[in-house]
Structures are given as structure tokens and as C-alpha cells.
Symmetry: C2
Subunit: 88 residues, 2 copies
Amino acid sequence: MGFAETFKALSDPVRREILTLLKQKALSAGEIGGHFNMTGATISYHLNILKKAGLLHESREKNFIYYQLNTSVVEEVMLWLSDLKGDA
Amino acid sequence: MGFAETFKALSDPVRREILTLLKQKALSAGEIGGHFNMTGATISYHLNILKKAGLLHESREKNFIYYQLNTSVVEEVMLWLSDLKGDA
DNA sequence: ATAGTATTTAGAAAAAATTCTAAATAGATA
DNA sequence: TATCTATTTAGAATTTTTTCTAAATACTAT
């Protein structure tokens, strides 16, 4: 759950696009998959990496699992960068 | 030179530690290598990735090449994250 | 309970990243 | 020029990441 996992999660373009999609509204795994030319299994793999990094919140509803961006971890990354920059 | 390269560069723990070292003062490749249990060739590999991502500034002096953090690219990453967070 | 839809897990294949050793380049100094 | 030091490049081995197919799980609804 440290920065290592979070930066790794952010390093993949597919995962960054997923986060961008989730910036506005929560989406189910299937809806997310609809935006990519990939199997559901691959989307699930990416969602799992984002989840482990703490970047997602999930909520179950009916038969679906809705994913949403967890902004607090984004803020933590920004703090790390801010410190690196010298604003410590 | 886009975000892809920069996030990839930031995703490795060795490279993040290099950036942290360079936060304060410029260091030569050899000095950087002294902080890690790796060959100079490997350090050079990492420096090259950071350089391509625009995260480093280099200046030659005598026989040495001094590397320093380029904070402006760090700021660009922070802006991307800020936008993701919703501060757009 | 059965059948249907959504998502995840397992295992394997392919691609990318990390590291090393050995050799090459670049510049400095004697 | 010859040599020494600093750094990079080339090539190969290892590890990690990404992706797929096929199967499994989970939950809904008939």
C-alpha cells in the first residue's frame, strides 16, 4: 500500500485512462471494459492493481460492482511529488 | 516526453530514490551509483530513463556529468494528478 | 433450484523491464 | 600521445508485466 504500488499502478496508460473515466462517475467493470479493446479478464487485472494501490473505491449494487476514484491516495502522491519538488 | 514516459520513470523505486538524492544538490553518475548496490551500467540505464522522461538536467564539468532534478516536469505530473482529482 | 449475467481467477504465452559482464566512448592529465 | 577515470553502450540472462482463453465464482431473477 506504499508509494511503490501506487506509482506502479499509475505507470500504465490503460490504468490511467480507467482512472480518468472514473473521475466523474462510478462505473461497473463491464462499463469500463466497454471503453477498451480488451477482454474482461484483462480489465479485471488492471482494476485489481488499481485497487491494491488504494486508488479505487468499490461498491456493490445488484449484480454489478461499481468502481470509483479514491482521491485521497491521489493527494498522497501529489504530496510526495510536492516534497520532491522542494515544497516540503 | 509525454506522461507515459514520466509515470513509467517514476514507477521504479531505484529511480525515485535517485530523484530524492538529486532533490538537494547535483550529483555525478558515480556519486549516485555510490548510494546503490548496483553496477554503474545499471545506474546509467536508470539515469537514461529519467533523462528521457525529462526529469533530469545534466551539466558536464571536467570528467564528470552532474545530474539534477528538473522540477518543472514534476510540476506537470502534479497538474495531471490535480486534474484527475477534480481540481481542474 | 435453474438459468443468466457480471466479474474474477488460473494458467500460459508474449512483451517489456531490470540487471549483469564486457567492451566502447569521452574527456582529463601526465 | 598514452594513460587513467567516468560514463555509456551492447548483448544476454532473469524477472516482471500484460494479455489472452477457459474455467470458476457470485449474485439475480425466474
